[in-house]
């Protein structure tokens, strides 16, 4: 039986568990924040956040320095979209929380927060197939729990505040090392005001069989969510981490700017899976990068649906011999959306291998941009890179751009690059509709077909959800 047939026969229980209608993401509850840093960003905002969170002095200093870097860096509009200038930093609230610690049981989570995550299907998913869940609501995690056996194995899965306080000896040496504060304007912003996100440590040789999941939910208007995630897989450890995100549709723009750092020590494997479904007014400006030591592997599997503007180029620095890096990404840009995504592969040791497969779909006035950077310096030998980027256009207003930058020095390496642009033709739609399939469903089928080989890379539970999200998006795009 083929993969297709197998997914079709997914048992009902699993199907129900993940059968979350994401149109239900568009709801909000009244704000009940005990702590609100107010509008705008200054050193006072940072002191407020440090005080509320009770952070050590080194973190306070780290944040203040980051604010200076943020303020000194210009918007990258020299190469990126001018739409960035529409972010009004003074009209954003940088920290909102109810002051509660994350609960270990859903029963203790405040009712409206529980309802939020129930409507998004998180507790069901946790029961069905997850090893642990962290559920963030605005600035802080409302719920965080992990299977007991993992705790016994020494696995740490907490939010970033708890990580830097309780596990400083593991946290601090790696924090801000893969992505330095000054990497870009938004990594500096995150470093100044970060809150929430996960800290994960998987000890030597421990291999997690089920994924850990974080869910990032924005509930409040004029709010910026700045989670910070640091994942460390010790030698020979393996884990899969999954993140999902939604926000309601507000009148004004919302900012989401995360920093995610992955560290895979010798022989470790980290897979980081993202399925984001932001509403169409979210600026989603995220920096994600992994460090892979000898024989280690970092894979980013990234699916971007929704948002007004997403800028995200997951990267892997292959620092140890035979390290492997991979970015598999799907971006769907509907009308009013710009998906500016790509990948960075920095080869820094011999015999390192990287693979980039990027597929984008532009619908209506939607715009998809691919930016790739592959760097192989001259002194290395035996490095390999494969880059494929394919774009699918649905109707003539769509736009797609590809900016691959592959810098390979020396002649002891192998690289290949393929790119294609295709269209869902009228004849293809006519053919599908003649079989009784509606126009919207036909487009969904065509889009799902286009990304089919990548969807296989997602865990089955998420691949089904991904298909559903695409169906919803495509149904809505038929005029």
């Amino acid at each position: 039986m083929s993969y297709e047939d197998a997914t079709a026969l997914l048992d009902e229980e699993t199907h129900d568990a993940i059968n979350v209608d994401r149109t239900k993401g568009d709801f909000t509850f009244p704000e009940r924040h005990k702590f609100d840093a107010g509008y705008g960003l200054s050193s006072k905002t940072i002191d407020y956040i440090c005080d509320v969170k009770g952070e050590p002095q080194w973190v306070r200093e780290f944040r203040h320095k980051a604010l200076e870097v943020f303020e000194s860096k210009p918007m990258p509009t020299n190469w990126a979209t001018k739409d960035l200038d529409n972010i009004k930093f003074d009209e954003i609230r940088y920290y909102l929380s109810d002051g509660e610690k994350p609960k270990r049981s859903w029963d203790e989570v405040p009712p409206e927060v529980l309802e939020t995550f129930e409507r998004l299907g998180i507790p069901e998913q946790e029961r069905a197939f997850l090893a642990g869940v962290e559920a963030q609501y605005d600035s802080e995690a409302a719920y965080s729990n992990m299977k007991e056996e993992l705790t016994k194995q020494g696995v740490v899965f907490v939010n970033s505040t708890e990580g830097l306080k309780e596990y400083e000896e593991i946290f601090r040496p790696w924090f801000g090392k893969v992505i330095p504060t000054g990497d870009n304007k938004f990594s500096a912003l995150n470093s100044a005001v970060f809150s929430g996100g996960s800290f994960i440590y998987v000890p030597k040789g421990v291999k997690l069989k089920q994924p850990l999941q974080a869910y990032f939910r924005i509930n409040s208007e004029n709010f910026g969510q700045f989670e910070r995630t640091l994942i460390i897989a010790d030698e020979g450890a393996e884990l899969m981490y999954m993140e999902g995100c939604t926000a309601p549709k507000f009148e004004t723009a919302t900012l989401h700017s995360a920093v995610v750092e992955l560290v895979a020590l010798k022989g470790a494997k980290i897979q980081y899976v993202t399925v984001q479904n932001w509403s169409s007014n979210v600026f989603n400006l995220v920096t994600k990068r992994g460090l892979a030591m000898e024989d280690a592997e970092v894979r980013w599997i990234d699916c971007n649906i929704g948002s007004r503007l997403t800028m995200k180029y997951p990267g892997v620095i292959m620092k140890g011999r035979r390290a492997r890096g991979e970015v598999i990404s799907i971006a769907l840009a509907n009308t009013g959306q710009h998906q500016d995504t790509g990948a960075k592969m920095i080869h820094a040791a011999d015999e390192t291998t990287s693979n980039i497969v990027s597929k984008s779909i532009s619908v209506g006035e939607g715009r998809a941009t691919y930016r790739g950077q592959v760097h192989i310096p001259k002194h290395l030998k035996g490095c390999k890179n494969n880059t494929e980027c394919d774009a699918l256009l649905i109707n003539s207003h769509s736009r797609t751009d590809t900016y691959p930058a592959i810098t390979v020095k020396g002649n002891r390496h192998a690289t290949q690059h393929e790119a294609s642009v295709s269209q869902v033709s009228e004849e293809m739609l006519f053919y599908m509709q003649q079989r009784g399939i509606s126009e919207g469903a036909a487009m969904s089928l065509a889009v799902n077909g286009f990304i089919n080989d990548l969807v296989r890379e997602f865990p089955m539970e998420y691949s089904v959800e991904l298909k559903r999200l695409i169906d919803l998006e495509m149904e809505g795009s038929v005029g």
């Binding site: 079709a8 006519f430 065509a446 286009f450």
Partner: protein, 250 residues
């Protein structure tokens, strides 16, 4: 009960008239064949009935069991019971045959009802066996990398799975070797039924050696110019389409 085409007129988007008043009645239980030279409007007729947006209907009507179809979308017509086996079936990259046919069947179910996967595969495999198709074929993307013969067999498979009321087969014999033609004919003959009408569009008599029509029509320059029994096809085979020109002049 029939698929009834009455004085149908259609043009290209630029106004060029292709169908100049076609009248044809295909009752359930009958197999009709339309023959005619290239450019006579045969394929256009099939596309206009199916609802292709490249044509403008300028007059006449098509009714399916007395229901007017021109108000319906392409997919509504399909679900109402019209099936078109394409001369050049489209490729649908990345979508497996099994998923494609299932999506088409699913579209026919009321909201909230799901295809029974086990029964579905049982039926699919049975039809594939009849058409001598390899099981691997379910996982292959629709028509992608298919040979001409495989594409045509795939059209017949879809037809057998969807069980339409009226089947229009557009040049199904083109590009087939004799063995493939026999298999396709076997499939079509298996579909013949008192509850189903069929319209075969073909340039050659060859197909009609394997699928015996009840009626044969000759189309030329956008009109049906002659109708008769199966013997008409043999006559065409013998004399070619030249006599049409004489008839047109007369």
């Amino acid at each position: 009960m029939s698929l009834h085409i009455q004085d149908l007129r259609a043009t290209l988007e630029d106004g060029t008239e292709i169908l100049k008043g076609v009248t044809l009645d295909i009752p359930k239980g009958e197999v009709h064949a339309i023959m005619g030279p290239n450019g006579s409007g045969k394929s256009t007729l099939s596309k206009v009935i199916a609802g292709h947006e490249g044509y403008v209907v300028t007059g006449g009507s098509v009714t399916l069991d007395d229901e007017e179809i021109f108000g319906m979308s392409i997919d509504e017509r399909s679900r109402a019971g019209i099936f078109l086996a394409f001369q050049y079936p489209s490729e649908v990259p990345g979508v497996s045959n099994a998923n494609f046919i299932r999506a088409a069947l699913q579209a026919r179910l009321p909201q909230g009802e799901e295809i029974d996967a086990v029964a579905y595969y049982k039926k699919l495999y049975a039809k594939m066996d009849l058409l001598e198709m390899d099981r691997k074929f379910t996982g292959r993307a629709v028509n992608e990398g298919f040979s001409g013969g495989e594409k045509k067999r795939n059209e017949i498979l879809q037809m057998m799975m969807l069980e339409p009321k009226y089947c229009i087969l557009d040049e199904t014999d083109s590009g087939l070797d004799i063995d493939a033609l026999k298999i396709v004919a076997k499939g079509v003959n298996a579909m013949r039924s008192r509850d189903r009408g069929m319209l075969l569009i073909t340039h050659y008599q060859r197909l009609l050696d394997y699928i015996k029509p009840d009626h044969v029509h000759v189309m030329a320059e956008g009109r049906i110019v002659r109708s008769g029994g199966p013997e008409l096809a043999l006559e065409l085979e013998k004399h070619g389409y030249d006599f049409l020109k004489e008839a047109a002049l007369a």
